[in-house]
Every structure is written in structure tokens, then in C-alpha cells.
Subunit: 303 residues, 4 copies
């Protein structure tokens, strides 16, 4: 149960079997930082390329393919004053016939105000005077190394996690990833101070973060897609295109979970999902889209 | 501002230019009822075929193509004791490789308890003993007649509304539909006592309803997809396959709405959506899927 | 085995249970005509609205739901001199990021030259001087009335056929449609003198046609999607979005056909498709896309 | 213009920046071999893992990001007697409601007969007695290393090529790939003696191959997706899900090609595609699907 403080110096723009940045044990906590999606750190220095340079990977001692890595996000917060966001819906989230009406994409800036826990829009936009939003810090990227020696761009996602851009990837949440390589190799990055569903403009409020997380290894238990949990909900994440397929992955993973761990047969699990499931749209911007299948713990017994 | 009481005797299984069941004026309120998706009424009698037999159509005097019909749902409540639901995820919402593991579909029954505002599962299912859910009555079907003399099955949906199976179609909510034919021809049906996102088992708790609604005509204002509003949110609905396309329709409609009615230019509207939008999954069961683009009114000025 | 000559006077812009234009018997042949997609006839007169006004419907005596209607296209040929086509790829067939580079859509005209069986481009386009194409006359629309009292726009398609825009819908080909209503109610229209795969600009060379066809009724044999046959191939057509789903429908219909009529079990039918199937893209322009699953008769025994 | 003979000893199951197997120059020809998709070589020995172990990568001297690598397939032929194929349509190419009717997947074997240039089915299947097919040898996998240090499973494909499973990847065909890394790093593998469109059973007739190819470097010319050419056609390949998106990539690449190299403006290029384009389905089995946009050279001037 060691507490590590880790200052990253190298960043990777893919999820892969890169040389471990730090070796940790199950139960350990790591305080570290992430730089923004364009490679700028807390001091405004360009220290890596884009997209989404990742902190890590963290090698978890004893992790083997077929295990699960639990990652609890203890703390996430912007560690500089100014973040930025894009100002234009992605052409693939509007009707094809509307695309030619969109103007040129540009950036706006936001000031992070920790006192009020808000982000204030500092680039003037018509119709949004004195505009600010409550902070809701989240990690756009979180995941482990994929199997078969792959190294996959941090622009996208898969069964190993990655750039899922799920607004529910917040402090107080635990994620569960299938382990594909020895050490699991945890990567994290792409902090957003605020982001709506789907990351439909291609960014949240992009900014560097201070991050603290704790890992636990669950030996010999297999899952096929990332899972998660917070105080109120359990959830599963599917990453694919189109959204329909992302939803199929997340729903199947939840169906299996309910049957294996909660004592429900297929009928009971289906009935529960049919009447109570909630779906969140992670991202509809990246090469793989993300759908989240979420269920309130109030419907689940004390198993 | 007449209050009508209308007892339906004929039901249609398509949204179309059927003979009007009742002629009403802008501002009028209608108290009526709907039968369940399989055609069974409040007294348990089979009075129509499936799928989703519709009450109406209601002819709104003065409505012309190019207008908007506003429908406020004043009241919705089950009007009989027993509802039913399906017990199996649809094969197209799980991974194709998982489909062959699904058992035979069957029905379960629920007892509606108005005193506690709950639905109690009365068919035993392993893992769900003494299971009940809070009621959240909603209409699966709501819409007007489509253009060009079409009559389209009440199993599906389109720009005219239809079988959208959106759990947000509840009392206290207003919907706005484009008018395609003289009189608009409002249809409603397919009441669900409870339903999760997506209607992933192909049913909610299906039951007959008492319904009261009020219409208003908004002359000479064009929209392309249904819109809606409740105390806290405005929203738009896109109906298509795949989900990606349904989302494009809903998002484009919202983008236009923010620009036309809320004083935002494309950059401001996109920024607001990028940081604050929420998406709801209406249905992923019917021939056309439904995605809802929703925005909190707290971000919108007093326009 | 009567030969009818039918001069249409009314055209419908939906596939539906419209009043029959002519009553015919199984084995009958009908010589008739179709107007172009915009409602212009052989003499250049605007005689109907758009899209795709249909000739018919033809009521086939004795046709009942659960039967199959075979339609053999005996003859198709443009019956006027000038046709037109659009000049721009549809925004949904190019990358979303490319859409804003597309200029305004416009029309070009073509002269039909029966002597050489060619269409000559008569509107100058840079890079296409003296450009002509061999004629390959086909019907964009062919189908029967859908079930449940529906009337569905002739812009789209479904299990009943409709606007499939398949370049293989040529003289010498037979189509098989499921019968959903008494009389089957055959519709046809939307002649193209030439068209590439997918109708990717939204038109072929649009023109009015002389058409001759022969119908046969196959009693008591059910199919779920249109099938077809010519001298060399059997094929099935699926109509849906996205293409993936259209392909699923066409492939499943072919798999069933091979098992029911050609003495193959699932393994043999799958093996044959795996090694020998060809897929054609009907349309990727209309609300429902069309994929065609095609198999050479050389691989099929004499069953 | 050296002719190399290269006997592979190492195989990779990803397209990536692996250590070069051989360094060659523009204009060089390489005679080599590939093992089958399951890692079995010409002598029936298991020499690598699955899926689709690749021969190479071949480092082309002087190739830099922003160049094009042309690969001409000079010769392809099975180099052992027995190949195998799967016998069952993939669950995602049939209707979801049909999936549960599919039996267990199994393998059948085929004997390659060079004298008659045929493959003879040697595992008995009901309805296919004495069944044989003409050989049409093709490579399922062909491509270069992806950018950004990625290594991507040889089960899938992208802008760099990969597992496209296009039946048109035959001797006599040239492919053009964008170069993303120094040396381009050409990979090849996954030979099929015969395969239908789409690889709908998940295999062709899988077998090891003798392969001869010739490379040419085209300096300083950028493309975004693979292109190809044979005696009669030019074509482009898009790799993505769903098919709609794969088609968008291929069509956009062709539109750009026609404008940049063939003297057509957008209207002329669109018109040509609209009336003459053909689409081939590469694969609808792998994680990314492949659509091919193909145009006959007879419509293109002598540019």
C-alpha cells in the first residue's frame, strides 16, 4: 500500500507495451499529472506531441493476461489556469446536408477558478456573455495495453479502454479493465475540466491535470470490455462504430455481469435492463465511439 | 379552450391521413384513453390489432403544412391493474456472437399499485424476489400524419414522431411536431408504466392509459424534427438507423433551434452543446431508432 | 395470358393500397409506360409530382397475402430524346470532412440515341468532351403494396420493394415480391437510361420509359425480401440503413432460399456463399439503402 | 532493379514498425512466400500464431512519410495441396433474429489441383457433391506500417491497408499505399485460393502461397487511402465500420483522384461516378469492413 509520487517525463501517443514509467503493486496509490490533449503541461510548455499524450504506462506487479485491473480515481483537478475548447460541431455529428453551413473551426479559452469551482469563458462569443460552467473534471483517456503486441493511437479506444471521452470518468469512480499483457500497463491522459455528452465538438475544456489513483489487481477473473462503478451505479463501456455496435458491446458485458455476479438469470437480467437501464454517450467524435450501459445499484441486492 | 372528453372506438396501426376521430381547436384540452400495444383496453378486451394501435387522429382546426403543433401532456396514468413486459434483450442489442445464448422470449406480468405509485413484478424471476419499481408513465407513440399521403406503421417513427419510445414522453412535457397535412392529425398510444432507456427488451410495462393533453397551434414556423420541452430542459428527437444518424438529426435540429430562437451564433451554440449537451436513447428496438438531444434551460438566457 | 396495353393517367408517389389502375391475371403481359422521377412524361409534359411517380398499381387477380408475385421485365426503353442527371455526389457518400468542398448541385442533359444505343452528354463538362455511354435501361422503382394499410413514399424501399435503384432491374430479369395485400398491387416507375452502382449522385439518367412486363402468381410460398433471377444469376435484395443491415437481410434471404429450394444444408449454403457470393450495391442514396446478394447459377444444381 | 529471393523466418501478427526483414530498392522484385491465416506453412508446420501472420516487413530504401509505395503483384499461387475454409456465415452478416438458427461452425478442406487450376471440396457437404471451384488466388493482407508508432492487429485494416480481404488483390494488380514511416515497411499474408465477396464465412480457402511482387516509390505524392489498378480498372479502398463509412472513404479518395490526375472538375468526376462507378465489397467480416470504389479505364482519357 505504498503511496507514490510520480513526475512524468515521457509521454506516449499510443496505448501499447511501452517501457514502464513506474512499477507499482496492487493496493498502491500514485499521485501524478497529465498534460493536455495537445501536449502542453501545467507550465504552458509543449512537452509532447498530439493527440492525447499519455502519462505512464504504470506496470502493476503480478498482473497477467486473464486478470482484471481495478483503477480507482481518487482525485482529478486542473493544475493550470487556462484551458481551451473547440467551437464547432464535428461534421459527422450533424446532418450531411448541413455540413456546408458550418464555418471554420476555431478555439476559445476558459479560465479555471478553483474558488468557485467554475470555468469562465474568456473568449467572447455572441449570446454567451459572462458565461461560466461548474467544473466536472474527467479523464478523456484511461486504459491498459492492448494484446498481441499492438500499440494503438490514443485518438481511439477498444476493449482495453483508451480515448473513451466519457464524462463519467471522474474522481470517486472505479474502472475495471481486462489485463492483456504482463503488468497491465496503465495509461492515462486527456483531462477535461468540463465536457458534455459525446464530445461533439471534439474537445472538452482541454487542460493539464493533477491526478491521484489507486490500483487493485483482481486475479483470474475475465471481462471483455471495461466496467466501472461509483457510489450509485455500475456501468460497462463499449467502444466501436457505429454507436449501435458500441451499445451491443456494453449491453452484452452488463448482461454477463448481472448473471455472473448478481444472481440473476437471463430473464431477470433482461427484465431489469429493459425497465431500468440508462445509456450514456461517451464519445461520438473519435474513430471508435463509446456507449455506456449504466444501472442503479438500488436495483441490485447485497451480493 | 374547450375541454373534450373523447372515448375512442376505432384505432389505427399506422400514422396517416385517416378520418379524424375528433375535431379540436388550438387551446383545447382532450381527456381520452389509449389501449395497450397489443390492442387490449382498460377492461382487458381485445379491441384492436397490433402493433401499437393509436387513439385519434385528432384534427386541429386551422393547422396547415408549415405550422407547428404543440402537444402538452397534462396527465398520463395506467387505467387497469395488470401490465406486461418482455423478458429478453432484443437480438440486435447484444453482440451477434451472444445471440445464440439467449433463451426463448416470454412475458412477465406486473401489478400497478396506484397507492404506492409502483409496479410490482408478479411473475417470479430468479434473483428478483419482491421486486417493484416506481411508476413513470410515458407514451411510446405520439405524432402527427406524415406528408405525401403516406400511412406509416405505428411500429416505427420519423420526422412526424411516431413510435419513439422515449421515456421522457411524460406528463408535464410539451412536444412540438411539424405539421404536414391539414389538421395535423395527432395520434397517440402505446402507454408504458415503466421503461428503461432504449426499450431494449422491446417493451416497457405495456398497459392501457388515461390520457389528457392540450394542443396549441404555432402558425408559420417550420421545424424538421420533433422538439420538446419540460420544466428543466429543451430537447429534440431524431428517428433513424443507425443511432449515429438519429443523433445527427437531433443535433442539427437543436443547433438550428439555438441559433434561431436563443440568439446564439454557430460557434456559441456549438460551444454550449460541446460542454453541456446530454443525449438520451429513446429506442434502439424499433425499425427507426430514436436519439434525443437535450439541453438544460439553466444555460439559456431569458429569450 | 392476355396482352394488355395500358396508358396511365394517374400516378402515385407512394407504394400503397391505392385504387387499382388495371386488373390483370397471372400470366398476363402489360405494355405500358412510366414517367420520369420528376413527373415529366414522354412528351415533356409535367403530369405528376415528385418523387418517383408510379405507374399502376396493377391488381393481380387471386393474389393473397402469403403468395409470391413474379414480375418478368420483358422490355424497357426510353421513350423520349432528352434525359437528365445530377452532377454532384450526395453529401452522405463522401467523407463528412469533404462535404464543405462540394459546389452547388446542378443538372446536365443527355440525348438518347437509339441507333447507337447510347446516351450522349450534351451539357459541357470539363474533362468529358464528346462523352457518351452505352444505354442500360433499368427501373429505379418496382414493388408491391406494403402491409397493414401502409402507403410509403416512393423515395424509399422495404420488404415490398420500392425505390431500390438497382442497376440490375433490367429487361430479361424476373423479380419475386412477397404479396402483402389482395391483388398484390404492382407499382413501377423511375426509369434510368444509365446508372452506376449506388445511384451516388441521386439520379441515373432520368427519363420516361416504355415498359412491358409479365406477371405470374406463385401461390402459398412465402418470402421475406424481394428475390430476382436472370439468365445467369439468382439474387436477393435487402433494403435498410445502414448498408450492413441491408446486407444482412439480403444474405439471410439467400441463405433460406438455398436451403429451401436447392437442397443445401446450412453448411453447404454458407460454404457456397463464402466462396462464390457477389454483392451489388443497389442504392446508397435513398432513405433505405439496397444491397443485393447474387449467386451464379453455375454453382447450383438442376433443382 | 534487383530480384530478391526471400525466405521468411519471422512473422508478425500486426502491421507495425517491426525490424525490417529485408531492405529493397524502388524497382526491385521480391520472390517470397506467405503462410496461412492460422500460421501453417507450405510443409504443414505451425510456424507462427494467428491471426494472419505476415511476411515482412520489407523496408524500401528512400521511402518517407508523404510518399506513395506502389506494389505490383507479379505472381500468387498456393504452394501446398490442402487448404481449408469455414462453413458458417458470420453471425453479424445475417439477421440478428436468424443467428440462433445457425449450427456450430466447423471446417472443410479443399484440394488444390494446379493442373486444372481448381480447388476440390474434399469434406462431404450435403448438396455439394463433386464440387470444385476455379482458383482465383488473392492476398487477404497487404499494407504498410501505420503512423505514430502504432502496431495494429493483422485482423483489421485502415488507411495503411491491412486485412482488407479484397478478392481483387490478385496477380497483375498494383496497389498504392500512403507511406507513413521511413522505409514504408510492406507486410503481406493471408493467401486465399478462392474467396467470395465480403469473406462472409470469415475465411476464403486458406492456404500458404508463393508470392512475387515489385515495388516502386512515388516520391512526394500524397494519398489518404489505398488505391489500385489493373488492366481494366482503377480503384480505391476504404476500411471502416459500418460499410457506409468505408464507402465514404473509398468514394472520396476516388473523387480526389479523378480531379487531381484525370482533368475532371467536381461535376465531371461526380457525373462519371454517378453513371459508371462499381462498388466491390472487400470484407464484411473483420473489425474494419472494406468497400472498393472501382471505375473502368474506358471512361478515362489518355492522361
Amino acid at each position: 500500500m505504498t503511496s507514490h509520487h510520480f513526475e512524468p517525463t515521457t509521454y506516449y501517443i499510443s496505448f501499447g507495451s511501452h517501457p514502464p514509467a513506474l512499477r507499482i503493486a496492487s493496493g498502491d496509490t500514485v499521485a501524478t499529472s497529465s498534460i493536455d490533449a495537445s501536449g502542453i503541461n501545467a507550465r504552458g510548455e509543449q512537452v509532447a506531441g498530439s493527440p492525447n499524450p499519455e502519462t505512464g504506462p504504470f506496470y502493476v506487479e503480478g498482473a497477467e493476461p486473464g486478470d482484471i485491473l481495478q483503477v480507482h480515481l481518487d482525485y482529478l483537478y486542473p493544475n493550470r489556469e487556462i484551458g481551451y475548447s473547440s467551437t464547432l460541431l464535428a461534421p459527422h455529428v450533424v446532418d450531411p446536408s448541413y455540413v456546408s453551413l458550418l464555418p471554420e473551426r476555431k478555439r476559445v479559452e476558459w479560465r479555471i477558478q478553483p474558488d468557485s469551482n467554475t470555468a469562465v469563458l474568456i473568449t467572447p462569443l455572441p449570446g454567451l456573455p459572462d458565461f461560466y460552467l461548474p467544473l466536472s473534471p474527467m479523464l478523456g483517456c484511461l486504459g491498459v495495453a492492448p494484446p498481441d503486441g499492438q500499440a494503438i493511437s490514443s485518438a481511439t479506444s477498444g476493449p482495453y479502454g483508451g480515448n473513451m471521452d466519457y464524462y463519467g470518468c471522474t474522481a470517486g469512480t472505479s474502472f475495471y479493465f481486462p489485463v492483456f499483457v504482463p503488468g497491465a500497463l496503465l495509461h492515462l491522459g486527456d483531462g477535461h475540466a468540463v465536457q458534455g455528452d459525446g464530445e461533439v465538438v471534439g474537445t472538452g475544456i482541454e487542460i493539464s491535470f493533477d491526478v491521484r489513483f489507486t490500483v487493485h489487481l483482481l486475479k483470474g477473473k475475465q471481462i471483455h470490455w471495461p466496467r466501472g462503478e461509483n457510489a450509485d451505479f455500475i456501468f460497462t463501456l463499449g467502444n466501436a462504430r457505429p454507436l449501435d455496435q458500441a451499445l451491443q458491446h456494453a449491453t452484452t458485458e452488463m448482461l454477463v455481469w448481472l448473471q455472473e455476479d448478481y444472481g440473476l438469470d437471463t430473464y431477470a437480467a433482461s427484465t431489469l435492463l429493459g425497465m431500468c437501464v440508462q445509456y450514456d454517450l461517451g464519445n461520438i467524435y473519435d474513430p471508435a465511439y463509446t456507449m455506456v450501459c449504466r444501472l442503479s445499484k438500488r436495483w441490485l441486492g447485497s451480493s
